[in-house]
């Protein structure tokens, strides 16, 4: 299929439709409104639902309803709105329901700003709401990945019966790049015998629920869920390695930070510094193994983030503090420049960190 130029936000929306998602619920917030606008235009024409909910809280609970019925469903928002959704996300996780939540991050905390950020990393990768749980977290670094990872998120979410989050940022949402759209699917590849579609008097009633008043039962549930999470970690960890074979310094970055870092790595190579990049595509599960392996042969790592340093903790855990890890960051809506990243690479290479 021919490539088309599309905004990242629109690519998410179109890919979701092509993945068989016919239900979208959201609440307006910058910088992701193109997703809602796209859905508002398209859904009525294809027999789907676009509903602007009264709040993000309602939107995520409408998602909970559609997912209970066994259908693909999504919501999207930006940082402050995603905080409001956390209650519902915890319930989705606790009820083992699949769903896609898109977070086109902006600077925080509080109302923060509207410029790009990656400061919801902790919230996304460590659960976010109350209780023991994880989301599958995917971090696109191009408009093509905005589309591809949307489809992937639906597939993984259905397969493992857990919510997935697409963690993007304002630049990814607003930028246009050529994209080859995914093929159409009805989104019904995974059987959902647990769905509450009416018993038709043919089976026992299904119950979608996260309440277990007997602690022994809740403990069993949580252990079971974490067994499933282990499978996800084993099978679904995704990352890109760029010029890491001979690298002395490895940059770890995702999303827009990875794009900036590639420029810096090119510049470093031109200066004779062997730099490379590990770009996590899944933030949970985190590519710990790749980082641990690299730790044996590099001088150190540079974590490039649009936050005060959140992913850096996972890098240190992954490499067991064998090698130094420095932080190269901007925050509040600012983006590190390639020059800033280059300097961090040079400093790490020269042992100045």
């Amino acid at each position: 299929m021919a490539k088309v130029l599309m905004k990242g936000n629109e690519a998410i929306a179109e890919a979701a439709i092509r993945a068989g998602c016919r239900h979208y619920f959201g609440y307006p917030i910058t910088p992701q409104t193109e997703i809602a606008a796209y859905m508002a235009k398209r859904m009525p024409k294809i027999g789907g639902t676009f509903l602007q909910a009264e709040s993000e809280i309602s939107a995520i609970n409408m998602v909970y309803g559609v997912s209970s019925a066994g259908l693909r469903v999504m919501t999207s928002s930006s940082s402050p709105g995603v905080s409001l959704k956390q209650e519902g996300i915890s319930y989705l996780a606790g009820s083992d329901l699949p769903a896609l939540i898109v977070n086109v991050q902006r600077g925080g905390p509080g109302l923060g700003g509207i410029q790009p950020s990656q400061s919801d990393y902790f919230q996304a990768t460590k659960g976010g709401g109350h209780g023991d749980y994880h989301l599958i977290v995917l971090a696109p670094a191009s408009v093509q990945e905005m589309a591809d990872l949307t489809v992937k998120a639906f597939d993984l979410s259905d397969k493992y019966r857990m919510p997935a989050m697409l963690l993007a940022d304002g630049t990814m949402g607003q930028m246009m790049e050529p994209v080859e759209l995914p093929p159409e699917s009805d989104g019904k590849a995974v059987e959902k015998p647990w769905a509450v579609t009416g018993t038709e008097n043919r089976r026992e009633h299904n119950i979608i629920n996260s309440l277990y008043l007997v602690p022994e039962q809740l403990e069993v549930k949580n252990f079971e869920r974490y067994e499933r999470y282990k499978e996800v970690e084993k099978n679904e960890t995704l990352f890109e390695e760029y010029m890491t074979d001979d690298a002395d310094v490895i940059v770890v970055a995702f999303g827009i930070a990875a794009r900036v870092s590639k420029n810096a790595i090119t510049a470093a190579r031109e200066k004779g510094i062997k730099a490379g990049l590990i770009r996590p595509i899944t933030l949970w599960p985190f590519p710990s193994e790749a980082i641990a392996k690299a730790a044996d042969r590099v001088k150190g790592f540079v974590s490039v983030e649009l936050s005060m340093g959140q992913m850096i903790e996972d890098i240190r855990l992954a490499e067991s503090c064998k090698k130094p890890v420095s932080l190269c960051n901007r925050t509040g809506g600012m983006i590190p420049s390639p020059e800033q990243v280059l300097k961090a690479i040079e400093d790490m290479e020269g042992g100045r960190f």
Binding site: I114, M175, M176, E177, P338
Partner: protein, 178 residues
């Protein structure tokens, strides 16, 4: 080639649109492309800018901080970005709206009275396309052939009747000699 373009002006001058035309034409020419707007409240009447990269190799960061080509349509944008232009790069200035000259000597400067030309041609909203025409002439970042197809994709479905006017503006800019 790896050409980084920054287009800046007031909101409403068609800065984002000019970037889109370059991006769509680049795509038609099977180049690697990125287009990134500034977004938010500053788009409403304040300054707007957009980064466009047209390249033979994969695009790294979509943010243009050191443009090869700078197109400016108001004075604040020239003041802000003149120093950022790569040495040996080019600046295109709407001289109807910007009276001062470029101070740097290591970049080439082109002065086009685009806003006045657009007014004289009876297409007052298309100064952006006149600037684009001149950029094509001087830099050959994209070709003129097949521009109509690229415009057809850039212009929304309900404004397809404006393609001719856009083409006229681009040609006027292309043929303008300083």
């Amino acid at each position: 080639m790896y050409t980084q373009i920054l287009i800046a002006g007031f909101g409403g001058q068609g800065v984002l649109f000019a970037g889109k035309v370059l991006a769509y034409k680049g795509l038609e020419e099977e180049k690697q492309i990125s287009w990134l707007p500034s977004y938010g409240p500053e788009m409403r009447g304040g300054t707007a800018n957009c980064s466009v990269i047209i390249s033979d190799t994969p695009v790294g960061s979509p943010i243009v901080s050191e443009p090869d080509i700078l197109i400016v349509m108001n004075l604040p944008s020239l003041d802000k970005y003149e120093s950022a232009v790569k040495s040996g790069g080019s600046v295109f200035i709407d001289s109807t709206l910007i009276e001062r000259r470029v101070e740097r000597t290591d970049i080439s400067a082109h002065y086009i009275p685009a806003t006045k030309m657009a007014r004289d041609l009876g297409i007052p909203t298309l100064a952006n396309m006149i600037m684009t025409g001149k950029v094509i002439r001087e830099t050959e970042v994209i070709g003129m052939d097949g521009l109509r197809d690229a415009l057809a994709k850039t212009v929304s479905a309900k404004h397809q009747d404006l393609i001719d006017a856009n083409l006229r503006a681009i040609e006027a800019g292309f043929n303008y000699s300083e």
